[in-house]
């Protein structure tokens, strides 16, 4: 996991990340909260041949309201960046996500993506997603995608039929949802944050 930066965010913050060296980069932000938190994170990509994957893994419970603003600023050619926001909302959890991909004039070979996936575990949750693209060059690619959904009943039924309690099944699913392509990170988060107390698996 070279070039991977893992940050646990526990309070509101404004972060300005300037990516000044080329190569593969992975940024992982882990947010688990039961209270309101506001995060404003912007990335400036200034060096060509940079490939950045940025993950925000969010678990909001009780009355927590997570407000996340991200901005990918592309001011140089030959850059690929992707922001993945994965959120699990439980109880009265709320997510406000506003993501912007900006690609400046005259650039080429730039790819800017953002994807937000929300898993809702309670009927009292709320989600507002505003994924904006502002594209001023034509030799580039940009995309965003959003999904909001809950755990399919047939999957829960299958897990329960294998003797797993519903709550545990839900948490297992939620953990997989957040970290399915980041197994090492999942383990690291568990071990660094005090085994099962900090993870969602009961």
């Amino acid at each position: 996991m070279e070039n991977t930066v893992i940050t646990t965010l526990t309070s509101s913050q404004v972060l300005h990340i300037s990516v000044n060296t080329p190569g593969e980069k992975t940024f992982i932000y882990w947010v688990q909260t039961v209270s309101d938190i506001t995060l404003d994170v912007s990335f400036d990509f200034k060096y060509p041949d940079t490939h950045a994957n940025i993950y925000f893994l969010i678990h909001a419970k009780k009355n927590a309201r997570v407000t996340l603003s991200t901005r990918q600023n592309h001011v140089t050619s030959k850059i690929t960046s992707s922001v993945f926001v994965r959120s699990v909302l439980d109880d009265y959890g709320m997510l406000f996500f506003h993501g912007v991909v900006f690609i400046d004039k005259g650039l080429h070979d730039v790819v800017g993506n953002q994807r937000s996936d929300v898993l809702t575990l309670s009927s009292q949750t709320s989600v507002m997603v505003k994924p904006y693209l502002e594209i001023c060059s034509h030799d580039v690619k940009s995309s965003h995608a959003t999904t909001v959904g809950t755990i399919p009943n047939e999957i829960l039924l299958y897990m329960k039929s294998r003797g797993i309690f519903e709550r545990v099944a839900k948490n297992m699913y939620a953990k997989g949802f957040l970290t399915h392509d980041l197994p090492v990170i999942a383990d690291k988060l568990l071990s660094t944050k005090g085994e099962k107390k900090e993870c969602m698996v009961e």
Partner: protein, 442 residues
């Protein structure tokens, strides 16, 4: 020809109402809307409307004395305009009825006798206010309130022309009804108001087309369209807008969809200096469905700010928005949309796709979607992409002997195909031809 003074004030609003010999309730409606227009602010978002001077526009221009039902009875200059566009010919071939609005008023209206016998009402709005006041009173501003936005308030104050359609229960209108809007005069505002009620179990396809000649001064087209889709009814509203590039096209279109109703907006935006248009749907009945298909072309100096809004206010409702845009020569196209799902609504789903093609380095494309979802028994999918014409596809086509220019047109036609296929064949061919014309100039 009758024309109000340039600019707008309460006297002009009252004068329009008096000239049309409207009942007191409509006069009051206009004047109260005008007060709202003065109070409302210009949109703080979206394209610049700085060049729009409300006092440099004529708000009402009546081109002919009466609405006629025979093309030959129109003045030659007006008839020539419509013949050049081919409206009389299209009417013969595949339309149930036609309404043609020239400047501020409808000048021609016809509807097939069989539809009238079934109880279908298809008249211009001015006639509807006089002949069907109860129906108009019941439904007007029930979907688009004058307080909705500044331009809805303006339209409510100075509206003229537009269509009123009522389709009775279980009546299926097989061939489309068409309205044709033309702004021929300089510095003119066209403010038609369209109200369509599709009663239970009925079906209607309504098509509108818009054009104007080019002037160096600005014109304003600010329409309001209100649609009520009752239980089990289906309504398709198709627009191909090819205004000249001096026209501000700022339109408010909303539909209320009741139980098991289906509403489809199909929207082609080619012309205008600035278009701001976001067809909306309120899905208020269970099992209601809404679809918005829109395609926009933004060329030199044009801003196409288009999209769609869907409010899921009942359970088991679903919606789909597909938006495609093409920009070149410094044009700017934006998708702006909202999908809102109310708390406690079960089994609600929505799928949104917005794709943009940028054809050169001077152009710009933006997407501004908002998804506001409460509860956990709904499903929302959204995807968007911005890219250039795929060089591999071009290379493949060119290797088959197709010239590059034609290959680009083919790729673009493929790109907008999901929207175009929703139009009747004649319009689909026309839209493809128009986009080809815009891109290559021939």
């Amino acid at each position: 020809m009758y024309k109000t003074k340039k600019g707008i004030n309460a006297q002009v609003v009252a004068e329009i109402s008096a000239y049309k010999q409207e009942p007191q309730w409509m006069r009051k409606f206009r004047l109260s809307s005008f007060k709202l227009f003065l109070k409302k602010r210009m949109p703080s978002w979206g394209p610049s409307l700085e060049d729009l001077d409300f006092n440099d526009i004529f708000y009402y221009l009546k081109p002919t004395k009466h609405v006629v039902g025979d093309w030959k009875k129109l003045p030659k200059s007006i008839l020539d305009t419509y013949e050049k566009i081919g409206v009389p010919e299209m009417e013969k071939k595949f339309l149930s009825g036609v309404s043609a609005q020239y400047e501020s008023d409808v000048v021609y209206k016809s509807v097939q006798k069989t539809l009238t016998e079934k109880g279908v009402i298809f008249v211009d709005m001015d006639t509807a206010v006089q002949k069907y006041p109860d129906l108009v009173k019941k439904y007007i501003s029930s979907v688009v309130s004058p307080a909705d936005n500044k331009f809805a308030a303006l339209n409510s104050a100075v509206w003229s022309g537009g269509s009123f359609i009522y389709v009775p229960k279980n009546v299926h209108v097989d061939l489309p009804l068409q309205a044709y809007f033309r702004i021929n005069a300089e510095r003119l505002g066209q403010f038609e108001r369209t109200l369509i009620v599709a009663d239970e179990g009925s079906f209607l396809h309504y098509i509108e087309g818009c054009t104007a000649p080019i002037y160096s001064t600005r014109s304003l087209h600010s329409a309001v369209v209100e649609i009520i889709v009752k239980k089990g009814a289906r309504l398709r509203y198709s627009t191909v807008q090819n205004w000249s590039t001096n026209v501000y096209n700022l339109v408010t279109k909303r539909a209320r969809v009741e139980e098991s109703g289906v509403m489809e907006w199909v929207d082609g935006n080619l012309g205008s200096a600035v278009t701001m248009k976001y067809p909306s749907m309120y899905l208020v009945g269970a099992h209601g469905r809404g679809e918005i298909y829109s395609v926009a072309y933004a060329g030199k100096g044009q801003v196409q700010d288009v999209g769609g809004k869907v409010y899921h206010l009942a359970p088991d409702t679903s919606s789909r928005i597909i938006s495609k845009s093409i920009c070149e020569h410094g044009g700017r196209a934006s998708y702006r949309g909202i999908v809102r799902m109310k708390k406690g609504m079960k089994n609600v789903s929505s799928h949104v796709v917005c794709d943009a093609l940028l054809l050169d380095e001077k152009s710009r494309s933006d997407t501004y979607p908002t998804m506001d979802i409460s509860g956990n028994e709904c499903r929302m999918e959204h995807e968007a992409s911005v890219s250039r014409v795929n060089e591999e596809q071009l290379l493949y086509l060119m290797s088959r002997g197709i010239p590059r220019e034609e290959a680009i047109t083919l790729v673009i036609n493929g790109f907008i195909e999901p929207i175009v296929k929703e139009l009747p064949l004649e319009y689909a061919v026309e839209l493809n031809r128009l986009i080809g014309y815009q891109i290559h100039g021939h």
